[in-house]
Amino acid sequence: MFKKGLIILMALMLAGPALAKSGKNSIQVKGSDTMVNLGQAWAEKYMEENPGEFVAVTGGGSGTGFSSLISGTCDIAMASRSIKGKEISLANQKGINPTEIKVALDGLAVVVNPANPVSKLTLDQLAGIFTGTISNWKDVGGKDEKIVILSREINSGTHVYFKEHVLRKGNADGKEEFAQSALLLSSSQAIADEVAGNASAIGYYGMGYISAKQKAIAVAKDASSEYITPTIENVVDGKYPISRPLFTYVNGAPQGLVKKFIDFALYKEGQDIVLKTDFVPIIK
Protein backbone atom coordinates (compact mmCIF):
# COMPACT_ATOMS: atom_id res chain seq x y z
CA MET A 1 0.00 0.00 0.00
CA PHE A 2 2.72 2.35 1.10
CA LYS A 3 4.87 1.38 -1.85
CA LYS A 4 2.03 1.91 -4.26
CA GLY A 5 1.43 5.37 -2.81
CA LEU A 6 5.08 6.16 -3.17
CA ILE A 7 5.11 5.13 -6.80
CA ILE A 8 2.06 7.26 -7.57
CA LEU A 9 3.66 10.18 -5.73
CA MET A 10 6.86 9.82 -7.72
CA ALA A 11 4.94 9.56 -10.94
CA LEU A 12 3.11 12.76 -10.03
CA MET A 13 6.34 14.50 -9.18
CA LEU A 14 7.80 13.53 -12.51
CA ALA A 15 4.69 14.39 -14.43
CA GLY A 16 3.98 17.63 -12.55
CA PRO A 17 6.53 19.86 -14.27
CA ALA A 18 5.73 18.32 -17.62
CA LEU A 19 2.03 19.12 -17.19
CA ALA A 20 2.79 22.64 -16.03
CA LYS A 21 4.97 23.22 -19.06
CA SER A 22 2.57 21.89 -21.64
CA GLY A 23 -0.11 24.04 -19.96
CA LYS A 24 -2.74 21.43 -20.70
CA ASN A 25 -4.79 21.74 -17.57
CA SER A 26 -2.74 23.69 -15.07
CA ILE A 27 -1.18 27.13 -14.94
CA GLN A 28 1.26 28.71 -12.54
CA VAL A 29 0.62 32.28 -11.43
CA LYS A 30 3.35 34.03 -9.44
CA GLY A 31 4.41 37.47 -8.31
CA SER A 32 3.25 40.54 -6.42
CA ASP A 33 2.41 39.99 -2.77
CA THR A 34 -0.11 42.79 -3.07
CA MET A 35 -2.04 40.73 -5.60
CA VAL A 36 -1.77 37.29 -4.00
CA ASN A 37 -5.18 37.48 -2.35
CA LEU A 38 -6.74 38.69 -5.57
CA GLY A 39 -5.03 35.96 -7.58
CA GLN A 40 -6.15 33.32 -5.08
CA ALA A 41 -9.74 34.53 -5.23
CA TRP A 42 -9.69 34.44 -9.03
CA ALA A 43 -8.16 30.98 -9.04
CA GLU A 44 -10.70 29.58 -6.59
CA LYS A 45 -13.67 30.88 -8.53
CA TYR A 46 -12.12 29.87 -11.83
CA MET A 47 -11.43 26.31 -10.70
CA GLU A 48 -14.93 26.07 -9.27
CA GLU A 49 -16.33 26.90 -12.68
CA ASN A 50 -13.82 24.87 -14.65
CA PRO A 51 -13.37 21.59 -12.82
CA GLY A 52 -10.33 19.64 -13.95
CA GLU A 53 -8.33 22.78 -14.61
CA PHE A 54 -5.80 23.84 -12.06
CA VAL A 55 -4.44 27.30 -11.22
CA ALA A 56 -1.66 27.63 -8.64
CA VAL A 57 -1.02 31.10 -7.20
CA THR A 58 2.07 32.06 -5.22
CA GLY A 59 3.50 35.37 -4.02
CA GLY A 60 7.08 36.49 -3.53
CA GLY A 61 6.99 40.00 -4.97
CA SER A 62 6.67 41.50 -8.42
CA GLY A 63 10.37 40.96 -9.13
CA THR A 64 10.07 37.31 -8.18
CA GLY A 65 7.17 36.98 -10.62
CA PHE A 66 9.20 38.50 -13.44
CA SER A 67 12.22 36.32 -12.80
CA SER A 68 9.94 33.25 -12.80
CA LEU A 69 8.32 34.31 -16.06
CA ILE A 70 11.77 34.84 -17.54
CA SER A 71 13.06 31.49 -16.32
CA GLY A 72 9.89 29.79 -17.53
CA THR A 73 8.71 28.55 -14.14
CA CYS A 74 5.40 30.41 -14.25
CA ASP A 75 2.84 31.14 -16.95
CA ILE A 76 1.46 34.39 -15.58
CA ALA A 77 3.41 36.95 -13.56
CA MET A 78 1.41 39.29 -11.34
CA ALA A 79 3.05 42.67 -10.90
CA SER A 80 2.28 45.88 -9.07
CA ARG A 81 4.85 47.75 -11.19
CA SER A 82 5.72 47.83 -14.88
CA ILE A 83 8.47 45.57 -16.12
CA LYS A 84 11.92 47.21 -16.23
CA GLY A 85 13.99 47.58 -19.39
CA LYS A 86 16.64 45.31 -17.91
CA GLU A 87 14.09 42.59 -17.29
CA ILE A 88 12.71 42.87 -20.82
CA SER A 89 16.14 42.49 -22.39
CA LEU A 90 16.87 39.54 -20.13
CA ALA A 91 13.57 37.94 -21.12
CA ASN A 92 14.28 38.49 -24.81
CA GLN A 93 17.63 36.77 -24.40
CA LYS A 94 15.76 33.72 -23.17
CA GLY A 95 13.26 33.93 -26.00
CA ILE A 96 10.45 35.23 -23.83
CA ASN A 97 8.35 38.19 -24.86
CA PRO A 98 6.58 39.68 -21.82
CA THR A 99 3.16 41.14 -22.64
CA GLU A 100 1.50 43.50 -20.21
CA ILE A 101 -2.20 43.23 -19.34
CA LYS A 102 -3.73 45.72 -16.89
CA VAL A 103 -6.17 43.92 -14.61
CA ALA A 104 -7.04 46.25 -11.72
CA LEU A 105 -6.21 49.46 -9.88
CA ASP A 106 -4.91 49.83 -6.36
CA GLY A 107 -4.90 52.80 -4.03
CA LEU A 108 -1.84 52.99 -1.81
CA ALA A 109 -2.88 53.97 1.68
CA VAL A 110 -0.48 55.81 3.98
CA VAL A 111 -1.30 54.68 7.49
CA VAL A 112 -0.54 55.75 11.04
CA ASN A 113 -1.62 54.58 14.47
CA PRO A 114 -5.16 55.74 15.40
CA ALA A 115 -3.66 57.49 18.45
CA ASN A 116 -1.64 59.76 16.17
CA PRO A 117 -3.32 63.21 15.91
CA VAL A 118 -2.05 63.68 12.33
CA SER A 119 -4.72 62.66 9.83
CA LYS A 120 -3.83 64.53 6.64
CA LEU A 121 -0.61 65.21 4.78
CA THR A 122 0.44 66.65 1.44
CA LEU A 123 2.54 64.69 -1.04
CA ASP A 124 5.47 67.00 -0.25
CA GLN A 125 5.18 66.25 3.44
CA LEU A 126 5.00 62.52 2.69
CA ALA A 127 8.12 62.74 0.54
CA GLY A 128 9.85 64.65 3.34
CA ILE A 129 8.89 62.07 5.93
CA PHE A 130 9.92 59.04 3.91
CA THR A 131 13.21 60.55 2.71
CA GLY A 132 14.03 61.55 6.25
CA THR A 133 14.11 65.36 5.89
CA ILE A 134 11.09 65.55 8.21
CA SER A 135 11.93 63.40 11.20
CA ASN A 136 9.64 64.61 13.95
CA TRP A 137 5.86 64.44 14.07
CA LYS A 138 5.62 67.99 15.43
CA ASP A 139 6.80 69.32 12.04
CA VAL A 140 3.60 68.08 10.43
CA GLY A 141 1.24 69.00 13.24
CA GLY A 142 1.67 66.01 15.53
CA LYS A 143 3.27 65.30 18.91
CA ASP A 144 6.95 65.89 19.64
CA GLU A 145 7.98 62.35 18.70
CA LYS A 146 10.50 60.82 16.35
CA ILE A 147 8.87 59.43 13.21
CA VAL A 148 9.41 55.70 12.69
CA ILE A 149 9.35 55.04 8.94
CA LEU A 150 8.10 51.65 7.82
CA SER A 151 8.61 50.51 4.26
CA ARG A 152 8.25 47.28 2.35
CA GLU A 153 11.36 45.33 1.37
CA ILE A 154 12.88 46.22 -1.99
CA ASN A 155 11.50 43.08 -3.66
CA SER A 156 8.10 44.68 -3.39
CA GLY A 157 6.46 46.50 -6.29
CA THR A 158 4.76 48.66 -3.69
CA HIS A 159 8.16 49.85 -2.47
CA VAL A 160 9.26 50.73 -6.00
CA TYR A 161 5.99 52.47 -6.84
CA PHE A 162 6.03 54.50 -3.66
CA LYS A 163 9.62 55.58 -4.27
CA GLU A 164 8.98 56.58 -7.87
CA HIS A 165 5.65 58.33 -7.38
CA VAL A 166 5.80 59.80 -3.88
CA LEU A 167 9.48 60.26 -3.06
CA ARG A 168 10.50 61.20 -6.61
CA LYS A 169 7.07 62.52 -7.62
CA GLY A 170 7.16 60.68 -10.92
CA ASN A 171 10.45 62.27 -11.96
CA ALA A 172 12.34 59.43 -13.65
CA ASP A 173 15.72 61.11 -13.05
CA GLY A 174 14.97 61.77 -9.38
CA LYS A 175 17.65 60.84 -6.88
CA GLU A 176 15.47 60.71 -3.77
CA GLU A 177 15.76 57.54 -1.71
CA PHE A 178 14.04 56.15 1.34
CA ALA A 179 15.77 57.36 4.49
CA GLN A 180 18.41 54.88 5.60
CA SER A 181 16.67 54.68 8.92
CA ALA A 182 13.50 53.32 7.28
CA LEU A 183 12.62 49.89 8.62
CA LEU A 184 12.18 47.44 5.77
CA LEU A 185 9.53 44.90 6.66
CA SER A 186 8.91 41.79 4.65
CA SER A 187 5.14 41.98 4.25
CA SER A 188 2.21 44.37 4.24
CA GLN A 189 0.83 42.51 7.23
CA ALA A 190 4.04 43.16 9.18
CA ILE A 191 3.63 46.88 8.48
CA ALA A 192 -0.03 46.76 9.51
CA ASP A 193 0.92 45.05 12.80
CA GLU A 194 3.74 47.47 13.59
CA VAL A 195 1.56 50.51 12.85
CA ALA A 196 -1.20 49.06 15.03
CA GLY A 197 1.20 48.77 17.96
CA ASN A 198 3.39 51.84 17.49
CA ALA A 199 1.99 55.35 17.93
CA SER A 200 4.91 57.04 16.15
CA ALA A 201 5.07 54.78 13.10
CA ILE A 202 4.03 55.59 9.55
CA GLY A 203 3.77 53.05 6.75
CA TYR A 204 2.11 52.38 3.43
CA TYR A 205 0.40 49.50 1.69
CA GLY A 206 -2.41 48.59 -0.65
CA MET A 207 -5.77 49.80 0.68
CA GLY A 208 -6.98 46.23 1.11
CA TYR A 209 -4.94 46.00 4.29
CA ILE A 210 -6.57 48.94 6.09
CA SER A 211 -8.40 47.89 9.24
CA ALA A 212 -9.73 49.60 12.36
CA LYS A 213 -6.31 49.26 13.99
CA GLN A 214 -4.72 51.71 11.55
CA LYS A 215 -5.75 55.17 10.42
CA ALA A 216 -5.49 56.00 6.74
CA ILE A 217 -4.06 59.46 6.07
CA ALA A 218 -5.94 61.80 3.74
CA VAL A 219 -3.52 62.94 1.08
CA ALA A 220 -3.46 66.16 -0.97
CA LYS A 221 -1.45 66.85 -4.12
CA ASP A 222 -0.27 70.15 -2.64
CA ALA A 223 -1.17 72.45 0.23
CA SER A 224 -3.91 74.21 -1.75
CA SER A 225 -5.72 71.06 -2.93
CA GLU A 226 -8.33 69.00 -1.24
CA TYR A 227 -7.28 66.21 1.13
CA ILE A 228 -8.60 62.89 -0.20
CA THR A 229 -9.02 59.66 1.72
CA PRO A 230 -8.18 56.36 0.03
CA THR A 231 -11.57 54.89 -0.79
CA ILE A 232 -12.63 52.89 -3.79
CA GLU A 233 -14.75 55.76 -5.18
CA ASN A 234 -11.86 58.22 -4.88
CA VAL A 235 -9.49 55.86 -6.67
CA VAL A 236 -11.99 55.14 -9.46
CA ASP A 237 -12.53 58.89 -9.93
CA GLY A 238 -8.77 59.41 -10.02
CA LYS A 239 -9.04 61.92 -7.15
CA TYR A 240 -6.80 60.02 -4.76
CA PRO A 241 -3.22 60.92 -5.70
CA ILE A 242 -1.42 57.65 -4.88
CA SER A 243 -3.02 54.95 -6.96
CA ARG A 244 -1.44 52.57 -9.39
CA PRO A 245 -2.35 49.99 -11.99
CA LEU A 246 -1.92 46.30 -11.28
CA PHE A 247 -0.71 44.09 -14.11
CA THR A 248 -0.35 40.55 -15.22
CA TYR A 249 2.42 39.62 -17.63
CA VAL A 250 2.38 36.63 -19.97
CA ASN A 251 4.75 35.33 -22.61
CA GLY A 252 3.62 36.62 -26.02
CA ALA A 253 -0.09 36.77 -26.82
CA PRO A 254 -2.10 34.80 -24.25
CA GLN A 255 -3.16 31.39 -25.52
CA GLY A 256 -5.15 28.42 -24.36
CA LEU A 257 -5.68 28.16 -20.65
CA VAL A 258 -3.72 31.33 -19.92
CA LYS A 259 -6.01 33.31 -22.22
CA LYS A 260 -9.08 31.73 -20.69
CA PHE A 261 -7.93 32.65 -17.18
CA ILE A 262 -6.98 36.24 -18.08
CA ASP A 263 -10.29 36.73 -19.88
CA PHE A 264 -12.06 35.45 -16.81
CA ALA A 265 -10.18 37.97 -14.66
CA LEU A 266 -10.95 40.87 -17.01
CA TYR A 267 -14.70 40.34 -17.39
CA LYS A 268 -17.59 40.94 -15.03
CA GLU A 269 -17.00 38.04 -12.67
CA GLY A 270 -13.28 38.60 -12.32
CA GLN A 271 -13.72 42.33 -11.81
CA ASP A 272 -16.37 41.70 -9.15
CA ILE A 273 -13.74 39.70 -7.31
CA VAL A 274 -11.35 42.64 -7.72
CA LEU A 275 -13.85 44.81 -5.88
CA LYS A 276 -14.43 42.17 -3.21
CA THR A 277 -10.71 41.93 -2.43
CA ASP A 278 -10.58 45.72 -1.89
CA PHE A 279 -8.98 46.66 -5.17
CA VAL A 280 -10.48 48.86 -7.82
CA PRO A 281 -11.92 47.38 -11.03
CA ILE A 282 -10.73 48.73 -14.39
CA ILE A 283 -14.23 48.51 -15.88
CA LYS A 284 -17.00 50.35 -14.06
Binding site: T64, I70, K84, N155, Q180, S181, L184, L185
Partner: protein, 287 residues
Protein backbone atom coordinates in the same frame (compact mmCIF):
# COMPACT_ATOMS: atom_id res chain seq x y z
CA UNK B 1 35.55 -12.44 -1.65
CA UNK B 2 35.73 -11.03 1.81
CA UNK B 3 38.66 -8.87 0.81
CA UNK B 4 36.75 -7.53 -2.17
CA UNK B 5 33.80 -6.62 0.03
CA UNK B 6 36.12 -4.89 2.45
CA UNK B 7 37.74 -3.03 -0.40
CA UNK B 8 34.43 -1.83 -1.83
CA UNK B 9 33.15 -0.66 1.52
CA UNK B 10 36.40 1.10 2.26
CA UNK B 11 36.26 3.01 -1.01
CA UNK B 12 32.60 3.86 -0.54
CA UNK B 13 33.33 5.36 2.84
CA UNK B 14 36.22 7.26 1.34
CA UNK B 15 33.89 8.73 -1.27
CA UNK B 16 31.42 9.74 1.43
CA UNK B 17 34.24 11.41 3.32
CA UNK B 18 35.47 13.28 0.29
CA UNK B 19 31.97 14.28 -0.79
CA UNK B 20 31.64 16.97 1.86
CA UNK B 21 34.95 18.57 0.87
CA UNK B 22 33.99 18.29 -2.77
CA UNK B 23 30.70 20.08 -2.15
CA UNK B 24 32.31 22.82 -0.10
CA UNK B 25 34.80 23.44 -2.88
CA UNK B 26 32.02 23.49 -5.47
CA UNK B 27 29.93 25.91 -3.43
CA UNK B 28 32.89 28.17 -2.84
CA UNK B 29 33.83 28.17 -6.52
CA UNK B 30 30.25 29.02 -7.47
CA UNK B 31 30.16 31.83 -4.91
CA UNK B 32 33.44 33.19 -6.22
CA UNK B 33 32.34 32.99 -9.84
CA UNK B 34 29.07 34.81 -9.22
CA UNK B 35 30.28 37.15 -6.50
CA UNK B 36 33.52 38.45 -7.97
CA UNK B 37 31.65 39.70 -11.04
CA UNK B 38 30.36 42.62 -9.00
CA UNK B 39 33.87 44.05 -8.78
CA UNK B 40 33.82 44.86 -12.48
CA UNK B 41 31.38 47.66 -11.67
CA UNK B 42 32.30 48.63 -8.12
CA UNK B 43 35.74 48.55 -6.52
CA UNK B 44 36.25 46.12 -3.61
CA UNK B 45 37.07 49.07 -1.37
CA UNK B 46 33.86 50.89 -2.24
CA UNK B 47 31.89 47.68 -1.85
CA UNK B 48 33.24 46.85 1.60
CA UNK B 49 33.40 50.39 2.98
CA UNK B 50 30.61 52.19 1.13
CA UNK B 51 27.97 53.50 3.50
CA UNK B 52 24.96 53.41 1.19
CA UNK B 53 23.04 50.29 0.26
CA UNK B 54 20.55 51.22 -2.47
CA UNK B 55 20.81 48.22 -4.77
CA UNK B 56 17.84 48.91 -7.03
CA UNK B 57 18.51 52.56 -7.72
CA UNK B 58 19.97 53.69 -10.98
CA UNK B 59 22.96 53.59 -10.75
CA UNK B 60 22.90 51.20 -7.80
CA UNK B 61 24.83 52.11 -4.66
CA UNK B 62 26.41 48.96 -3.34
CA UNK B 63 28.15 49.74 -0.07
CA UNK B 64 27.83 46.96 2.49
CA UNK B 65 29.55 48.56 5.48
CA UNK B 66 26.21 49.17 7.29
CA UNK B 67 25.31 45.52 6.71
CA UNK B 68 28.66 44.20 7.98
CA UNK B 69 28.47 46.42 11.06
CA UNK B 70 24.83 45.40 11.55
CA UNK B 71 25.77 41.72 11.55
CA UNK B 72 28.72 42.32 13.87
CA UNK B 73 26.67 44.42 16.28
CA UNK B 74 23.90 41.85 16.59
CA UNK B 75 26.49 39.08 16.97
CA UNK B 76 28.45 40.99 19.58
CA UNK B 77 25.29 41.65 21.57
CA UNK B 78 24.28 38.02 21.36
CA UNK B 79 27.77 36.96 22.46
CA UNK B 80 27.74 39.28 25.47
CA UNK B 81 24.42 37.80 26.58
CA UNK B 82 24.95 34.15 25.72
CA UNK B 83 28.58 33.59 26.78
CA UNK B 84 28.23 34.23 30.54
CA UNK B 85 24.89 32.46 30.74
CA UNK B 86 26.00 29.58 28.51
CA UNK B 87 29.30 28.97 30.27
CA UNK B 88 27.65 29.38 33.67
CA UNK B 89 25.03 26.87 32.68
CA UNK B 90 27.68 24.42 31.47
CA UNK B 91 29.61 24.74 34.74
CA UNK B 92 26.44 24.15 36.72
CA UNK B 93 25.48 21.10 34.72
CA UNK B 94 28.95 19.59 34.70
CA UNK B 95 30.08 20.38 38.22
CA UNK B 96 27.31 21.37 40.57
CA UNK B 97 23.89 20.00 39.60
CA UNK B 98 22.66 16.79 41.23
CA UNK B 99 22.30 13.88 38.82
CA UNK B 100 18.52 14.04 38.28
CA UNK B 101 18.42 17.80 37.80
CA UNK B 102 21.33 17.45 35.39
CA UNK B 103 19.24 15.24 33.11
CA UNK B 104 16.31 17.67 33.14
CA UNK B 105 18.58 20.61 32.34
CA UNK B 106 20.25 18.77 29.50
CA UNK B 107 16.91 17.83 28.03
CA UNK B 108 15.81 21.45 28.32
CA UNK B 109 18.90 22.67 26.48
CA UNK B 110 18.36 20.13 23.73
CA UNK B 111 14.77 21.26 23.41
CA UNK B 112 15.93 24.86 23.08
CA UNK B 113 18.23 23.79 20.25
CA UNK B 114 15.31 22.09 18.54
CA UNK B 115 13.14 25.21 18.25
CA UNK B 116 13.17 26.36 14.62
CA UNK B 117 14.57 29.86 14.23
CA UNK B 118 11.46 31.14 12.49
CA UNK B 119 9.45 30.22 15.57
CA UNK B 120 11.89 32.04 17.83
CA UNK B 121 11.66 35.02 15.48
CA UNK B 122 7.90 34.97 15.61
CA UNK B 123 7.83 34.74 19.38
CA UNK B 124 10.34 37.57 19.54
CA UNK B 125 8.21 39.68 17.24
CA UNK B 126 5.07 39.44 19.33
CA UNK B 127 6.60 39.41 22.84
CA UNK B 128 10.15 40.76 22.94
CA UNK B 129 9.79 43.59 20.41
CA UNK B 130 6.91 45.39 22.20
CA UNK B 131 8.67 44.79 25.52
CA UNK B 132 11.95 46.34 24.34
CA UNK B 133 10.02 49.30 22.92
CA UNK B 134 8.19 50.15 26.15
CA UNK B 135 10.97 49.16 28.57
CA UNK B 136 13.62 51.37 26.97
CA UNK B 137 11.17 54.04 25.71
CA UNK B 138 12.31 53.58 22.13
CA UNK B 139 10.48 54.73 18.99
CA UNK B 140 10.42 51.10 17.85
CA UNK B 141 11.27 47.74 19.37
CA UNK B 142 12.65 46.37 16.10
CA UNK B 143 16.26 46.90 17.15
CA UNK B 144 19.66 45.23 17.20
CA UNK B 145 19.08 44.53 20.88
CA UNK B 146 15.95 42.46 20.19
CA UNK B 147 17.90 40.50 17.59
CA UNK B 148 20.80 39.97 20.01
CA UNK B 149 18.55 38.63 22.75
CA UNK B 150 16.76 36.22 20.44
CA UNK B 151 20.03 35.05 18.88
CA UNK B 152 21.52 34.52 22.31
CA UNK B 153 18.84 31.86 22.81
CA UNK B 154 20.03 30.21 19.64
CA UNK B 155 23.72 30.29 20.51
CA UNK B 156 23.22 28.99 24.03
CA UNK B 157 22.53 25.30 23.31
CA UNK B 158 25.73 25.07 21.24
CA UNK B 159 27.80 26.83 23.87
CA UNK B 160 26.37 24.84 26.77
CA UNK B 161 26.69 21.38 25.27
CA UNK B 162 30.23 21.81 23.90
CA UNK B 163 31.51 23.66 26.98
CA UNK B 164 30.00 20.95 29.16
CA UNK B 165 31.80 18.27 27.15
CA UNK B 166 35.04 20.19 27.60
CA UNK B 167 34.53 20.31 31.36
CA UNK B 168 33.79 16.58 31.46
CA UNK B 169 36.94 15.71 29.61
CA UNK B 170 39.17 17.39 32.20
CA UNK B 171 40.93 14.45 33.92
CA UNK B 172 39.39 13.56 37.27
CA UNK B 173 42.81 13.67 38.89
CA UNK B 174 42.94 17.47 38.47
CA UNK B 175 39.82 17.87 40.54
CA UNK B 176 40.92 15.35 43.15
CA UNK B 177 44.27 17.08 43.38
CA UNK B 178 42.63 20.44 43.99
CA UNK B 179 40.37 19.01 46.67
CA UNK B 180 43.32 17.24 48.29
CA UNK B 181 45.10 20.59 48.55
CA UNK B 182 42.15 21.93 50.50
CA UNK B 183 40.52 24.03 47.74
CA UNK B 184 36.83 24.74 48.04
CA UNK B 185 34.40 23.64 45.32
CA UNK B 186 34.26 27.13 43.81
CA UNK B 187 38.04 27.53 43.94
CA UNK B 188 38.39 24.20 42.18
CA UNK B 189 35.98 25.26 39.47
CA UNK B 190 37.43 28.64 38.64
CA UNK B 191 41.12 27.98 39.34
CA UNK B 192 41.41 24.42 38.03
CA UNK B 193 38.47 23.20 35.98
CA UNK B 194 37.81 26.33 33.89
CA UNK B 195 41.46 26.94 32.97
CA UNK B 196 41.92 23.25 32.16
CA UNK B 197 38.85 23.26 29.91
CA UNK B 198 39.46 26.76 28.54
CA UNK B 199 40.33 25.71 25.00
CA UNK B 200 37.19 23.64 24.69
CA UNK B 201 35.14 26.48 26.12
CA UNK B 202 36.59 28.96 23.65
CA UNK B 203 35.79 26.53 20.84
CA UNK B 204 32.23 26.27 22.19
CA UNK B 205 31.89 30.05 22.18
CA UNK B 206 33.25 30.32 18.65
CA UNK B 207 30.83 27.71 17.34
CA UNK B 208 27.97 29.45 19.13
CA UNK B 209 28.96 32.74 17.51
CA UNK B 210 29.25 30.98 14.17
CA UNK B 211 25.65 29.93 14.50
CA UNK B 212 24.58 33.47 15.35
CA UNK B 213 26.29 35.23 12.47
CA UNK B 214 24.76 32.87 9.94
CA UNK B 215 21.26 33.10 11.39
CA UNK B 216 18.77 34.68 9.04
CA UNK B 217 15.09 34.23 9.67
CA UNK B 218 14.85 35.48 13.24
CA UNK B 219 17.00 38.55 12.63
CA UNK B 220 15.05 39.41 9.52
CA UNK B 221 11.85 39.38 11.52
CA UNK B 222 12.96 41.42 14.53
CA UNK B 223 15.85 43.75 13.72
CA UNK B 224 13.93 46.16 11.48
CA UNK B 225 16.25 45.73 8.47
CA UNK B 226 17.14 49.40 8.09
CA UNK B 227 20.42 49.66 6.17
CA UNK B 228 21.72 52.47 8.35
CA UNK B 229 25.17 52.76 9.94
CA UNK B 230 24.44 51.41 13.42
CA UNK B 231 25.27 53.88 16.16
CA UNK B 232 23.63 52.13 19.07
CA UNK B 233 22.28 48.74 20.02
CA UNK B 234 18.87 50.39 20.45
CA UNK B 235 18.65 51.23 16.75
CA UNK B 236 17.41 49.04 13.91
CA UNK B 237 20.05 47.28 11.82
CA UNK B 238 20.16 45.23 8.65
CA UNK B 239 22.35 42.15 8.65
CA UNK B 240 24.23 40.48 5.80
CA UNK B 241 22.11 37.36 5.98
CA UNK B 242 18.77 39.17 6.05
CA UNK B 243 19.84 41.24 3.04
CA UNK B 244 20.52 38.16 0.95
CA UNK B 245 17.32 36.46 2.05
CA UNK B 246 15.12 39.49 1.50
CA UNK B 247 16.54 40.56 -1.83
CA UNK B 248 17.52 37.40 -3.67
CA UNK B 249 13.99 36.87 -4.89
CA UNK B 250 13.90 40.28 -6.53
CA UNK B 251 17.40 40.47 -7.98
CA UNK B 252 17.36 40.14 -11.74
CA UNK B 253 19.66 37.23 -12.57
CA UNK B 254 22.88 38.61 -14.03
CA UNK B 255 22.41 42.15 -12.69
CA UNK B 256 24.88 44.01 -10.50
CA UNK B 257 22.51 43.58 -7.59
CA UNK B 258 22.49 39.81 -8.09
CA UNK B 259 26.30 39.66 -8.16
CA UNK B 260 26.49 41.94 -5.14
CA UNK B 261 24.32 39.53 -3.14
CA UNK B 262 26.68 36.70 -4.02
CA UNK B 263 29.61 38.89 -3.00
CA UNK B 264 27.87 39.37 0.36
CA UNK B 265 27.72 35.59 0.46
CA UNK B 266 31.50 35.47 0.02
CA UNK B 267 31.95 37.94 2.88
CA UNK B 268 29.71 35.80 5.10
CA UNK B 269 31.52 32.66 4.04
CA UNK B 270 34.89 34.19 4.94
CA UNK B 271 33.62 35.38 8.33
CA UNK B 272 32.14 32.04 9.36
CA UNK B 273 35.11 30.16 7.91
CA UNK B 274 37.43 32.27 10.05
CA UNK B 275 35.30 31.60 13.12
CA UNK B 276 35.23 27.87 12.52
CA UNK B 277 38.98 27.70 11.87
CA UNK B 278 39.63 29.58 15.12
CA UNK B 279 37.37 27.16 16.97
CA UNK B 280 39.18 24.25 15.37
CA UNK B 281 42.60 25.60 16.28
CA UNK B 282 41.57 25.85 19.90
CA UNK B 283 40.04 22.38 19.92
CA UNK B 284 43.07 20.72 18.39
CA UNK B 285 45.74 22.45 20.42
CA UNK B 286 44.12 20.84 23.40
CA UNK B 287 45.13 17.35 22.44
Amino acid sequence: MRKLKEFIIEKLILICGLASIFFVVLIFLFLLKEGLAVFSTVSPFKFLFGKNWYPISDPPQLGILPLILGSLLVTLGAAIISIPIGVGCAVYIAEVAPANLKEILKAGIELLAAIPSVVLGFIGMVTLVPFVKTFFHLPTGLTALSGSIMLAFMAMPTIVSIAEDALYSVPKTYKEGAFALGATHWQTIHRVMLPAASRGIVAAIMLGIGRVIGETMAVMMITGNAAVMPNSIFAPVRTLTATIAAEMGEAVVGSEHYFALFAIGIVLFIISFAINVTADLFLHKRQ
